[in-house]
């Protein structure tokens, strides 16, 4: 399926007094459009348009920029910005400004605003701005990761397959695995931990998809690998290469939400049995992993939680263990961000990213996710509809019901409107339209009336009539043979005459 995407990012560059570079091409304010092409494969191209408005600060903005620290300025500037999803506002402050700490040239706030220190001339500023735009909206790698199905295998980075596929909803399941309930009575206050740490992030992400969170405790659930005993540290070790085999036996017991079809994200907290503790995970180089956790792409994460051995070995069993949820949730939240592709990339040291605080997610990170998911959704719709069309081409007499047809029309219309909205930079409406397109196309594709097994292939119909065709073919074949024989004889006869 071919697809052309045009992604338009509205950017506002606001110059504070004293920061306007001398070599501006035109007097402020003016507009500028920059286009860039991202090649994905032969039939899919992504064109990005950065629609930039250059202007100088208003009086209110000027006042806000007069704050003491960058954080305060960011908070004060927020109500003055364009709050629509996907739009970015960059404030260029004079080189001598004390707003940014020493050595920091770019400050990315919690929302959609940034502070940039004016550099030497426009060219340097432009490269800095472009880098910043990519960090805050999308990069070539984030777009190719979203279109990973279409990218030839060799070109993908290792991270590209880690991100969860875009979906209308996700089920997040926290499971506490206690393989040894005789020795450990493990208790965790998951309800409070979810409310305190996970829910704020999910509230923020609710724009992207529906989330549901649940938890369970599984007893006698063991990992698939027997850890190796290390005499030096008198501990048990799981090496990196054995980790792929760890999940399988556990997975059979995890179960999925019977009442929903959304993909499940599993986070497992494993309390090793007494005979195998303490248990540490080793990385590829043999060094212990500091978090004692690992994640599995598109599946979830596992953390090993070691229980301290009691001081006296005679202590009566089971040992009561209350899990330190702060430590656990730190790891799980980091894994959650990783699985959603929200990990913070390597940035030059001159960049300073504001920590998202309690919400766990900055506004511009949400935008990043939306850009990638919108592109991915449109690509998915196009793939789904193409394979549906292929199926219909293959079976000529398939019956297409009116409701299926209307779903297909709706999917096409929504996908088109999503593409159009992307091209004018309306990220939010584009994402909504792409979601609707996915829903409609999936509903059409999985309609039970379109099961290709319902239709007889033509060769079977032919086989049923073999009893007719075979006896009918006999006289025809015989007469053909006779003709052949006669012509041969006729050919031979003249030579005989000679």
């Amino acid at each position: 399926a071919s697809a052309q995407f045009q992604l338009a990012v509205p950017v506002a560059v606001v110059f504070a007094p004293g920061s306007v570079p001398g070599d501006l091409p035109r007097p402020l304010p003016f507009r500028d459009v920059q286009e860039m092409e991202i090649p994905v494969n032969l039939r899919t191209t992504v064109t990005t348009r950065y629609e930039t408005i250059y202007r100088s600060t208003t009086a209110q903005e000027e006042a806000a920029l007069g704050a003491a620290t960058a954080r305060e300025a960011d908070a004060a500037l927020r109500p003055l910005q364009d709050a629509s999803l996907g739009s970015l506002t960059m404030y260029v402050v004079p080189e001598t400004s004390s707003l940014l700490p020493q050595g920091i040239n770019v400050y990315v706030g919690k929302h959609r605003g940034t502070l940039v220190r004016a550099g030497e001339g426009l060219a340097a500023l432009r490269t800095r701005l472009q880098q910043l735009t990519q960090v805050m909206s999308f990069t070539v790698s984030s777009i190719t990761a979203a279109l990973s199905d279409r990218v030839p295998d060799g070109q993908l980075g290792p991270d590209a397959r880690r991100h969860l596929k875009s979906s209308l909803g996700y089920e997040i399941t926290f499971s506490l695995l206690n393989p040894d309930p005789k020795s450990h009575a493990v208790d965790w206050d998951i309800e409070d931990a979810v409310n305190r740490y996970v829910q704020p992030v999910l509230d923020k992400l609710s724009l992207v998809a529906n989330f549901s969170v649940d938890s369970q405790i599984l007893y006698y659930a063991v990992l698939g690998v027997t850890p190796r005993f290390d005499k030096e540290s008198s501990s048990f070790l799981l090496s990196a290469h054995s980790l792929p085999h760890v999940i399988n036996p556990v997975e059979a017991r995890l179960g999925s939400n019977a009442a929903s079809l959304y993909p499940v994200l599993n986070f497992l907290l494993y309390v090793p049995e007494r005979s195998h503790s303490p248990l540490y995970i080793q990385d590829k180089d043999g060094a212990p992993v500091s978090t004692n956790a690992f994640h599995s792409p598109r599946w979830g994460g596992i953390m090993v939680y070691n229980v301290e051995a009691p001081a006296s070995p005679q202590a009566s069993l089971p040992l009561h263990v209350e899990v330190d949820m702060v430590r656990v949730m730190e790891v799980f939240l980091a894994q959650l961000r990783l699985l959603f592709g929200l990990s913070r990339e390597e940035l030059p040291p001159e960049f300073l990213l504001e920590s998202p605080g309690n919400e766990g997610l900055a506004d511009w990170e949400l935008d990043r996710l939306l850009w990638a998911h919108t592109v991915e959704n449109i690509a998915t719709v196009s793939t789904t509809l193409t394979s549906l069309a292929q199926l219909l081409d293959k079976i000529g007499n398939i019956v297409i019901k009116d409701d299926v047809a209307s779903e297909v029309y709706r999917a096409v219309a929504s996908a088109q409107s999503a593409v159009a909205e992307l091209a004018v930079g309306h990220l939010h409406s584009a994402f909504q339209a792409s979601k609707e397109a996915v829903t409609s196309s999936e509903r059409a594709f999985f309609d039970p009336s379109l099961l290709h097994l319902l239709y007889f292939p033509d060769d079977q119909k032919f086989a049923i009539y073999i009893p007719l065709f075979l006896p009918m073919a006999v006289p025809i074949l015989l007469s053909l043979a006779k003709i052949v024989r006669e012509t041969r004889q006729r050919k031979k006869e003249p030579t005989k005459m000679d």
Partner: protein, 608 residues
């Protein structure tokens, strides 16, 4: 109790983990496990496992999503689909009430599912369909074949067993799949729902190779809301997983192999139990090891109660209790189903039990009744068969026996007949002791072809010491060719009919208002109304009815035949059109001439 224990532990382990006092959410959920072993009158042994998870949380609010002992899959199902009560039973074999007596929990052969939905559910049929599909996935059973053609809404037979403030039967759905075969793939997901799996506790005995080598195997899941406490202001949810299995003493390693088996048992049980075991066992002796090829070594560490009950009620006229080894720590007396029973109780959680031996292998000795005629007959039992000849009409007869010497009691009969047996309601006759018995309540819902089955519910009074015969005639319908099941010549199953009754007790039951949390599990599923009667639900045999079955190769035969005819016609016509005709020279004579020539040759005369 848990809180105290934890506090003690913290004192013991000063350097223990966990900052500050441990917040123990005590009493939020609790697991009890129980095994009841009862020798049956004819010498077989029934083992009934019950695992009960009680959760003090309201599943319906939707806010609960953090599971501990209660299985997440079922909890989410209950919350998402507005289920108030769910009863699913998968059964292989048939409980022979007449020889085995009243079962603790009976289920019809095949799969049985009945569900009460919440009044908030707007589209009950849709929820029912969704539920049966999800359950079919969870239990690997063909419950997805439950559709409107085998679903009924009984009005009187199935009342909610749990807490319910309304019994609007429109919220009830009931379906039986009598053809369902139950096997290991259904047992494995059932065991997976247990908090301890089959790794510890009583569930270690649940090994498929023994359980399915039995006369009767029934596993069930019951979910219902119950009162949290006596004041009943809050709701708790109860999940009961039950498994009943009947071992045939002859098929389970007796007869010729008996000696061998018992000597092996002997050598294995030396370390475990008392040495008073005779070397030659009587045929009716059995032990846990013999039945399950395993013994019990511990309780499930998560269970708050783990007990084995053995029915040692006297079987002979001398009224002596059956002998059981090892000697039980306590003996429990109860009146179960109108009968005074004595149980030997082994508490797996009491530390003294495993002090003397590492494992518990309960063994029981008793003399099997020599004469099968003096088997005690249960007060209520029933029998059903189909009669008639030919493939057009037939008759279903149900015989219901009331053997109570002096008490009459009513019984509710539920009959579900698939639409392809067209019942003639005017032929319905109920005859007791030669006289017509008029039912005091009849609910009949006629079938609609391909849409819903017949439903017949009747309240019939059974006089004391009587046999009631209910007959109804039917006509067999012709099905469309796609509607036949695979192997249609095997016949079509008609699900068991259901008998529900409050059977008067022969001995007065103490109207004991025992706390449900303390009493044994096998007595507490069905509520008993008062001291004078007890609730019984019986299932009759499923029926196998032959329907007029066409020869399914016929269409192909017809195609072959007509095609051949067409081809032959075509061939000769083709020959006629394409052959070139030319005048043949007169032949050299026929057979007669050749024969004549041979004779002439012998005679030496020149040929013709």
């Amino acid at each position: 109790r848990g809180g105290m224990l934890a506090a003690v532990l913290l004192l013991l382990t000063a350097a223990g983990p966990g900052p500050g006092p441990v917040p123990v959410r005590a009493g939020r959920d609790a697991l009890r496990e129980e095994l009841l072993l009862s020798p049956l009158p004819d010498g077989d042994v029934a083992a009934t496992f019950q695992f009960r998870t009680r959760w003090d949380a309201d599943l319906q609010r939707g806010a609960v999503s953090h599971y501990r002992l209660f299985p997440k899959a079922l909890g989410q199902l209950v919350a998402a689909l507005g289920v108030r009560e769910l009863h699913l039973a998968l059964t292989q074999g048939f409980w022979r009430t007449r020889v085995w007596g009243q079962p603790p929990l009976q289920a019809p052969a095949g799969a049985e599912l009945w569900v009460w939905f919440q009044p908030t559910v707007t589209d009950v049929d849709k929820a029912w369909e969704e539920l049966s599909n999800i359950l079919s996935g969870i239990f690997c059973a063909s419950l997805n074949f439950i559709d409107s053609t085998n679903t009924v809404t009984p009005t009187a037979s199935f009342k909610p067993l749990g807490l319910a403030n309304g019994t609007d039967h429109h919220l009830l759905r009931y379906a039986v799949l009598p053809r369902e075969v139950v096997c290991t793939e259904n047992l494995t997901p059932w065991k997976k729902l247990l908090p301890c799996g089959s790794k510890a506790g009583l569930a270690v005995l649940l090994k498929a190779e023994r359980l399915f080598h039995s006369s009767y195997h029934s596993q069930a899941v019951h979910i219902r809301p119950i009162c949290r406490d006596a004041s009943c202001l809050a709701v708790s949810w109860e999940l009961r997983q039950t498994l009943t299995v009947v071992f045939d003493t002859f098929s389970s390693g007796q007869g010729k192999k008996g000696k061998l088996g018992s000597s092996a048992l002997w050598s294995l049980s030396v370390h475990s139990t008392s040495l008073s075991l005779p070397l030659t066992l009587l045929p009716t002796d059995w032990s846990l090891f013999k039945m399950f090829s395993r013994t019990l070594t511990d309780a499930c560490p998560l269970a708050s109660q783990s007990k084995v009950y053995v029915d040692i009620s006297p079987k002979n006229k001398e009224k002596e209790l059956l002998e059981v080894t090892p000697p039980p720590a306590s003996v429990h007396e109860a009146i179960v189903q109108g009968d005074k029973r004595t149980y030997a109780v082994y508490d797996l959680l009491s530390p003294s039990l495993f002090n003397t031996s590492r494992s518990l292998n309960v063994q029981l000795k008793w003399k099997r009744p020599q004469d099968s005629s003096d088997l005690p007959t249960p007060i209520l039992h029933a029998q059903r068969y189909v009669s008639g000849y030919g493939l057009q009409t037939g008759e279903i007869s149900t015989l219901i026996y009331n053997t109570h010497p002096y008490r009459a009691f009513p019984v509710v009969l539920l009959e579900t007949v698939p639409w392809y047996l067209r019942l003639y309601v005017h032929t319905l006759t109920i005859i007791t002791k030669g006289k017509e018995n008029k039912p005091s309540y009849i609910h009949y819902q006629p079938a609609q072809d391909r849409r819903r089955p017949h439903l017949l519910e009747m309240l019939i009074q059974l006089p004391a010491n009587s046999v009631t015969k209910i007959t109804i005639q039917f006509e067999r319908a012709l099905l469309k060719w796609t509607e036949y099941t695979p192997d249609p010549n095997h016949g079509f199953y008609v699900s068991s009919s259901v008998l529900s009754a409050l059977v008067p007790s022969v001995i007065a039951m103490k109207d004991v208002d025992v706390d449900v949390e303390q009493s044994s599990l096998f007595t507490s599923l069905f509520p008993s109304s008062d001291g004078s009667s007890y609730f019984v639900r019986l299932y009759t045999e499923p029926l196998l009815v032959n329907l007029p079955t066409p020869d399914f190769s016929m269409p192909y035969n017809v195609i072959c035949l007509t095609c051949t005819v067409v081809a032959v016609c075509y061939g000769s016509f083709y020959n006629l059109l394409t052959r070139t005709f030319h005048v043949e020279e007169p032949s050299r004579g026929g057979l007669a001439k050749r024969l004549a020539n041979i004779i002439r040759k012998f005679r030496g005369v020149p040929p013709l």
